[in-house]
């Protein structure tokens, strides 16, 4: 087997290739992110294709979450550009980027503690998020069915009226993931969905993500190698802010640099 390195994206950069968006939904071009002189990210090119599930792995502090921050507008890259669905989004604000169609689950699942599970989900329903829309919002059956369908899938249907503060860690993860799914983004950034879950919970999460792959584009960040194997998708390895290799899990595992990065810690 050939060890994977970084594919040659040279002729596919959005600024040089008009047709880039036929192939890619997301394209990161020469992103760097510097904090007080510390280079947290120094990527060359990363392209994520339509309806692809891309797994990003890498040791602690590799810059995986920072990459999500850059894509979602939480952190402005020091240099480089982010492209999504035919346009550059580098300078857009967080809520604009959400409306364009990038959703995110944070590494530590963020839910609204004093709202019930159902109310949490409700705030993620697609549609207008303005003040007037919120003042006049009425519950209806179609919405309820969609919410309940998702909640049943993640075994939260019995807890719809429970305040989120009473949920277990795993349930919070699922609530965060199902809120994300409900909001119907075109690209889902899922930061460590299996962290802190039991084995059976992890497996269900994996199944859920694989189901989503049929109709969505996903970037999943993960540490757990069994989970990555279950996802059986293209893997990008980040290390010290650089993308080190890209390919199937078996391919990247034979890259000597990757072995070094994981064992040399």
């Amino acid at each position: 087997m050939v060890a994977a390195t970084i594919p040659d994206y040279k002729n596919e950069r959005p600024d040089q290739n008009q047709l880039w968006d036929k192939k890619y939904l997301l394209f990161l071009s020469e992103i760097t992110a510097v904090f007080d002189g510390f280079k947290a990210l120094d990527l060359e090119h990363i392209g994520v294709m339509h309806n692809e599930l891309r797994v990003v792995i890498g040791p602690n502090g590799a810059g995986k979450s920072t990459m999500c921050d850059v894509i979602t507008g939480k952190t402005r890259p020091t240099t480089g550009s982010v492209w999504f669905g035919g346009e550059e989004i580098t300078k857009k604000s967080e809520d604009e980027i959400v409306r364009i169609g990038i959703g995110r689950k944070f590494q530590t699942p963020t839910v609204y503690d004093s709202l019930t599970v159902y109310e949490n989900m409700e705030l993620s329903l697609p549609g207008s998020k303005g003040i007037f829309a919120m003042l006049t919002a009425r519950r209806n059956k179609t919405e309820r069915d969609r919410v309940m369908h998702l909640l049943e899938r993640v075994r939260l249907a019995d807890d719809v009226d429970t305040e989120a503060r009473y949920l277990s860690h795993g349930q919070r993860q699922w609530l965060a993931i199902s809120s994300l799914i409900l909001s119907q983004p075109r690209l889902l950034l899922v930061d460590e969905p299996a962290a802190g879950l039991t084995d059976s919970e992890t497996e269900l999460t994996g199944e859920l993500l694989l189901e989503l792959k049929k109709e969505h584009t996903l970037i999943v960040i993960e540490h757990d190698m069994d989970f990555v194997r279950q996802l059986n998708s293209r893997v990008t390895v980040l290390c010290e802010g650089r993308s080190m290799a890209e390919g199937s899990l078996e391919e990247v595992k034979t890259n000597p640099e990757v072995i070094e990065a994981y064992l040399g810690r």
């Binding site: 809520d95 995110r104 963020t110 609204y112 004093s114 709202l115 705030l123 003040i131």
Partner: protein
């Protein structure tokens, strides 16, 4: 008082299995309070309670409206605002100026302004001019409108500037406190033609009615009661709507909300403006009943006191906020008068101590305030039944 109970875990509704449910007790209590509030004017008419008592209740109810607004912005949205006193004073001054126009005039100048009129060099008695910001408060309807809109506008400026640039937590509190103090200094200067530290007082009539007439005092109480009930119901609708749940979401995790596609600053500014308008309305109701408005209402202790009302009453529950304002002010009234039991003489000076201890007690023992205590008690009663 039933806020959020519908969202409590199912296990808490024990009462419903055994006869009297918690919500029935709550309803009965609210009904009794409401009946008492409505009966109070009649009791005064019959001479059972004094008109002064009704007047006092009216003033405290006006303060309850301030507490409602503060509860929305602090209890629900998690933003500790220390400038509700400023908005209250803005409403109070709007009404104060209007009332001064109806009072004693000297050369067409209302007395409160006349006695401290800042003459420029070369000006002498008889050359006073009424500034434009006095003239606009001459018509009654315009005064009512401006007394609500001006605090709303000021809140909008502070809110948008502060929330867009993401001024948070204690920094926002300090900012609002600083602005209130600055406004107090502004209002205290004679040169500003706002009657200086004396403030505006000695009102005579409002919309043609003698303010000293007991029936007018009772009428003001009734108007205040209607305003309190009205604003309470509006707040209730707000908090029960999806908008209200967005406010709680701002408090719980603003970041998550932003990444769900919302603009938290817009929601924060909106509720801050609304709370400011409520405080303005309250100031307008309070001033004719207190017969005075001075810059001292913008002192830091007032802002803090308002926070104490909501904390003691129970933040995040509308009923708690109003109850806190009423209870503390009634306590204040009882404890700042002289009385003695045996050889023990109560002195009004003890009040700040009592207030301080009450606040500490609530912070340490009753994080959900009186409303939380009430909920627990009702839970017990319902259980026993």
């Amino acid at each position: 008082m039933t806020e959020r109970t519908m969202n409590e875990p199912a296990g808490i509704h024990l009462g419903s299995i055994c006869g009297t449910s918690a919500s029935q007790i709550n309803k009965a209590f609210a009904g009794a309070l409401l009946a008492f509030a409505i009966l109070l004017p009649m009791l005064a008419h019959a001479g059972v309670v004094s008109v002064e008592t009704v007047n006092m209740a009216g003033r405290y109810m006006a303060l309850g409206i301030v507490a409602l607004g503060l509860d929305l912005i602090w209890g629900y949205t998690g933003i500790l605002s220390l400038c509700q006193a400023l908005f209250f004073a803005l409403g109070g001054y709007a009404m104060g100026i209007h009332l001064a126009h109806q009072g004693t005039l000297h050369n067409g100048i209302p007395e409160s302004l006349y006695v401290v009129y800042p003459y420029k060099v070369g000006e002498s008695k008889g050359m006073e001019v009424l500034p434009w910001f006095w003239l606009i408060f001459k018509p009654f309807n315009l005064t009512i409108l401006l007394g609500i809109l001006i605090p709303g506008l000021v809140a909008g400026l502070i809110g948008f500037a502060g929330f867009i640039s993401r001024v948070k937590g204690v920094y926002f509190s300090i900012l609002t406190q600083a602005l209130t103090v600055a406004a107090m200094m502004f209002f205290s200067k004679n040169e500003m033609k706002l009657c200086g530290t004396n403030g505006i007082t000695n009102f005579t009539t409002l919309a043609g009615h003698e303010l000293s007439d007991p029936n007018v005092k009772i009428g003001l109480y009734v108007v205040t009661l209607i305003c309190l009930i009205g604003t309470y119901l509006i707040c209730l609708l707000l908090t029960k709507s999806r908008f209200g749940r967005v406010l709680l979401a701002v408090r719980d995790s603003e970041t998550a909300l932003r990444f769900a596609g919302y603009k938290p600053y817009a929601f924060k500014a909106a509720i801050f403006i609304f709370a400011g308008m409520l405080a303005g309305l309250a100031g307008m109701l309070y001033t004719p009943q207190a017969n005075i408005i001075t810059p001292s209402y913008m002192e830091a202790r007032w802002s803090i006191l308002m926070v104490v009302w909501v904390a003691v009453g129970g933040r995040g529950t509308l009923f708690g906020a109003v109850a806190g304002a009423m209870v503390i002010n009634l306590l204040y009234n009882a404890m700042t008068s002289q009385w003695s039991i045996g050889s023990f003489d109560w002195k009004p000076d003890y009040w700040p101590l009592v207030l301080g201890m009450l606040f500490i007690l609530v912070v340490l023992a009753l994080p959900d305030g009186l409303a939380g205590l009430w909920r627990k008690m009702v839970g017990r009663i319902a259980e026993v039944d």
